[in-house]
């Protein structure tokens, strides 16, 4: 299966085509009979792949690591493997190999392997990524491949994506039942799954871009599922266009890396070259910054996050799948995939601040702040997602790579669970998501939804021993903020993340109060939903609770399975330090979460802070702050009115001017010129010349005829005279000249 892992994205793609072609024929609201089995099979295959990956033995040298790379894929790998033989013989001089530069690589790789074996007290196995590709297009020296790169993080995402997709498929078959475009919905769900899996398994940056764009398109289609209502189509467009802004960064970054790595798209090669200092640091920095722009748009980091809350206009299962668990983590995954580029470009090791960390930290806090003023439960969860993505980006920025992916793993489960829970709430509260107006007291009516939601909340808040605690704590430890061993000393990130953790607990408690406690404020008859909705909730709650045990400190199964070791990933020599479990950090984070939750609890449940109620109404600063949050920091206004407006108005005016004066001027001028030319041609050329010639010919013929006619007098004697004269002339000619 490791060789044929391309089947896993191919299956949902096939499902997409089948649903498009045959979905309607199955009957109304029955298209899930194609989608669910296919995604189910993909899920099983993903588990099989994971099992096979976990069962592999590692090899101790680089040769083994590159032996699983197909010959045609990675050019670095082929040269390494050809030079590996020479290094294995012990000759370490540069002249012994055909490519002297790669010979030097192997020399550095082999000692790394032994060094890795010496440190850590155990044999650290080199990761053997399975890379398969086939050549898609040749153009001179340029080769475009399409293939798969399977290593630990790809396996992780395969499992996560297929699991959440399967659960969302099952949930949707009840939630979206009877919808106007049921078949279409399931077709796009399948297409999204296929695109995300394609993206995850991408072997080169070009393929990654294709997958990136495809998931963007599916997101657009699914957000705008009910596009007949204008706000939904507006939201879809906003999502797509905001992502486009970041995609420019992606494209530039990919291009820079392509040329920096010697015209090579292969991710493995780029990583190896970046990790071994063969790419200029400035180029790495430039491409990192461009790729960070892409991350900011796709993974909803601050400034370009504005599309994510609006994307809640789509159906809730879509929000759960795409905007909580899978698509938004595409940015995280991309950074994780190309980590040496960021690690060396931003000089993550040993620093105390860098762009990734700043962006992530700011997002974590600002997103959390915005969640406090939302009345729509999905928007709360959306801002929560923004905040949690900020956590993941910060983790990557401080060098805690494994922590970021681990948080991605746990977050997918409990956030998807929370979203589906919100959907379950709305499904029975008259399809409204307004928790202030239309919900309340749901815990008595919908117990299963309530308990799964609570478990998800506790996990999100990071309460021991649920999953969120372990992953969030690992991130906090990885910042090195308390002076503990880590890649760098990111104090700013540490403080911001602590604050964000407190806020997370607070706003989630607020949400639970509004939705599940108090009196029912709506107008319907809420009831618990069917098993197709509640069973996925239960499964996700359970996963959200126990997923943390995958990476218990000391055992670190997750880290061993997922984090790569090899020339293509930063290791000890490059300065990547794995932070150990730090009790102080753990206690601090728990205190922050509990403190935040407690504050919210007291404010809402017990009404303890009566004087604070309505504070923003009385205090001008507080009011200004609340208005700022309610207007989402005026970012939407900045984008739509100021930036776009100021560009589009003068451009539109200029374009209009050009159209009226230049283009129409040219056209009118051409017309007028044609008229003048026509007149000229008519008068001078046609009348005088042409008609003159024609008439002239006629008159010449007439006059010459008239002249010639004078010979025809009708007098025979004249004819006789002419005849005799001609005869005399002829005779004269004959006699005188020819005679």
């Amino acid at each position: 299966m490791l060789d044929k892992v391309w089947i896993i994205p191919a299956l949902p793609a096939l499902g997409f085509l089948l649903t498009l072609c045959f979905g309607k024929r199955l009957g109304p609201s029955r298209a899930h009979f194609i989608g669910i089995p296919i995604v189910g099979v993909a899920f099983v295959l993903a588990l099989v792949t994971a099992g096979q990956w976990m069962a592999r033995d590692g090899a101790l040298d680089e040769r083994g690591a590159v032996s699983d790379i197909q010959q045609s894929c990675s050019r670095e790998a082929t040269t390494i493997s050809s030079g590996g033989a020479a290094a294995g013989d012990g000759t370490a001089n540069e002249g012994s190999t055909a490519e002297g530069g790669t010979g030097g690589d192997v020399v550095s790789a082999a000692p790394e392997a032994t060094r890795a074996a010496e440190s850590g007290g155990g044999t650290e196995e080199l990761t053997r990524p399975v890379i398969r590709c086939l050549s898609w297009w040749h153009s001179g020296p340029l080769q475009f491949d399409i293939g798969t790169q399977l290593d630990g993080m790809a396996v992780l995402l395969l499992v996560v994506v297929t699991t959440i997709s399967l659960l969302v498929h099952v949930y949707s078959s009840d939630y979206v039942n009877g919808d106007r475009r049921y078949t279409h919905y399931f077709a796009f769900l399948s297409l999204f799954t296929a695109s995300m899996l394609f993206f995850v398994l991408a072997e080169n940056t070009l393929q990654m871009m294709v997958g990136w764009e495809l998931v963007g398109v599916c997101s657009f289609a699914l957000i705008g599922h009910w596009w007949e209502e204008k706000p939904n189509s507006d939201a879809a467009l906003k999502a797509f266009l905001t992502n486009r802004v970041g995609d420019v960064g992606l494209m530039i970054g990919v291009i820079v890396l392509f040329f920096a790595a010697g015209q090579n798209f292969s991710i493995y090669d780029i990583n190896v070259m970046a990790n071994n200092g063969r790419i200029n640091h400035t180029l790495l920095l430039v491409s990192s910054c461009c790729l960070i722009a892409a991350v900011m748009s796709k993974s909803g980091q601050f400034i370009l996050h504005t599309w994510l809350p609006d994307a809640m206009a789509g159906p809730t299962p879509v929000s759960a799948l795409i905007h909580a668990a899978t698509m938004v983590v595409a940015g995280i995954y991309m950074v994780g995939r190309l980590y040496p580029v960021f690690f060396h470009g931003l000089s993550i090791a040993g620093s105390s601040i860098n762009l990734l960390a700043v962006v992530g930290s700011v997002t974590a806090v600002f997103g959390a702040l915005l969640a406090f003023v939302q009345k729509d439960i999905k928007k709360v969860l959306a801002y929560s997602t923004v905040s949690q993505l900020g956590f993941m980006v910060t983790a990557l920025g401080v060098g805690a790579w494994t922590a970021a992916l681990f948080h991605l793993f746990t977050h997918a489960f409990f956030k998807a669970g929370l979203f589906l829970g919100a959907g379950s709430l709305s499904h029975s509260c008259g399809h409204s998501f307004d928790m202030v107006e239309d919900m309340g007291g749901m815990r008595k009516v919908m117990p299963r939804t309530f308990w799964t939601f609570v478990v998800g909340t506790l996990s999100l808040a990071g309460i021991f021993p649920l999953a969120g605690f372990w992953s969030k704590d690992e991130i906090l430890a990885g910042t090195g903020g308390l002076g503990n061993a880590a890649t760098g000393s990111y104090y700013f990130a540490f403080i911001m993340l602590l604050v964000a953790a407190a806020f997370t607990a607070a706003y989630m408690t607020r949400t639970i109060w509004y939705a599940f406690y108090g009196e029912y404020r709506g107008h319907g008859h809420p009831h618990e939903n069917g098993s197709r909705i509640t069973v996925p909730l239960v499964i996700l709650a359970v996963l959200g609770a126990i997923a943390g045990f995958a990476n218990l400190p000391g055992v670190l199964t997750f880290e061993h399975l997922v984090e790569p070791v090899g020339a293509y990933f930063p290791g000890h020599e490059q300065g990547l330090v794995h932070a150990d479990f730090n009790l102080a950090v753990a206690i601090l984070s728990t205190l922050a979460a509990v403190g935040g939750g407690l504050f919210s609890y007291l404010y809402y449940f017990r009404r303890s802070f009566k004087p604070l109620e309505g504070f923003s109404g009385r205090n001008r600063v507080a009011h200004a702050g609340k208005t700022l949050l309610e207007n989402k920091y005026y970012l939407d206004k900045l984008y739509t009115d100021i930036i776009v407006g100021s560009i589009k108005k003068p451009i539109a005016a200029a374009a209009y001017w050009v159209n009226q004066h230049v283009i129409d001027g040219v056209v009118n001028g051409a017309g007028k010129g044609a008229v003048v030319a026509g007149k000229f041609v008519y008068e001078k050329v046609d009348q005088l010349l042409v008609d003159g010639a024609v008439n002239g010919v006629g008159s010449v013929a007439e006059s010459s005829g008239g002249e010639l006619r004078r010979f025809q007098t009708g007098h025979v004697q004249q004819y006789a005279a002419l005849f005799f004269a001609a005869a005399a002339l002829l005779c004269g000619v004959f006699v005188l000249i020819l005679g």
């Binding site: 009708g714 004697q717 004249q718 006789a720 005799f724």
Partner: protein, 98 residues
Amino acid sequence: MLLNQFLLLAAVLFCVGVYGVIVRRNGVLVLMSIELILNAVNINLVAFGTSAGLAGQVFALFVITVAAAEVGVGLAIVLLIYRNRRSIDLDELSELKG
């Protein structure tokens, strides 16, 4: 006797006859001019024929015959013209005028 003198005489007669055909208005006079031409031709024939037996003379005889026939028919035509138009002025006969 030189051959030339007869031939030249014939040539002169011929040319005078041609002049007459061209210039004369009266149809009968034109016919007379034609007779001049024919007689010039006869002289030629006979003059050349002296060196070759009697062929020239025989042909001249035939010419005279034909000339007679021609004059007969020609005068009949002139008479007809006279009857139709009360004049035989050839200048008036310009029906072929183009």
